[in-house]
Symmetry: C2
């Protein structure tokens, strides 16, 4: 939805993303957590910490995985990278 | 189901798990790919390589995440670790 919050998982500490996810949930908004490559494991950690410790009244609505193509690696060749999107929302 | 193949993702090269997943699919069996912690990113890579290159006629039936508790870390404290289960099956 237009009002969904999007959290892009990168190299910051897990707790930064946990808080960035918890805040919109507390406002009743859905959050889409997006990660690529090695950050995928961190995205799962974030969702688990949020729904077990910070906002227990949350539902995982959808988990989808995919591949992003066309990024060029350091060797000049195109590289594919796996992606995950996890949608979490307040229970109704 | 009883006949489902289970692939536990660990430290071996990704391609080992890609082949371990592709073979049961070719026999018409469903495969459950399970990973913990940092191996979660690798589990997603495995599924993406399988369904894009080795067995395109596959469906992702379910993706679930969770937390496994009670493992004791090197500091003697109990640690939680995130988990993922990805169910992939031949299209009907």
């Amino acid at each position: 939805m237009a009002d969904d919050a999007i959290v892009l998982v990168g190299k910051k500490p897990t707790m930064n993303y946990v808080l960035a996810t918890t805040m919109p949930l507390m406002e009743g908004r859905r959050v889409v957590i997006k990660a690529r490559g090695r950050a995928i494991s961190k995205a799962v950690d974030i969702v688990e910490v949020v729904r077990r410790r910070f906002y227990q009244n949350a539902n995982i609505e959808k988990i989808s995985i995919g591949t992003e193509e066309g990024r060029v690696g350091t060797d000049g060749r195109p590289r594919s990278v796996s992606t995950i999107d996890i949608v979490i929302a307040p229970k109704k």
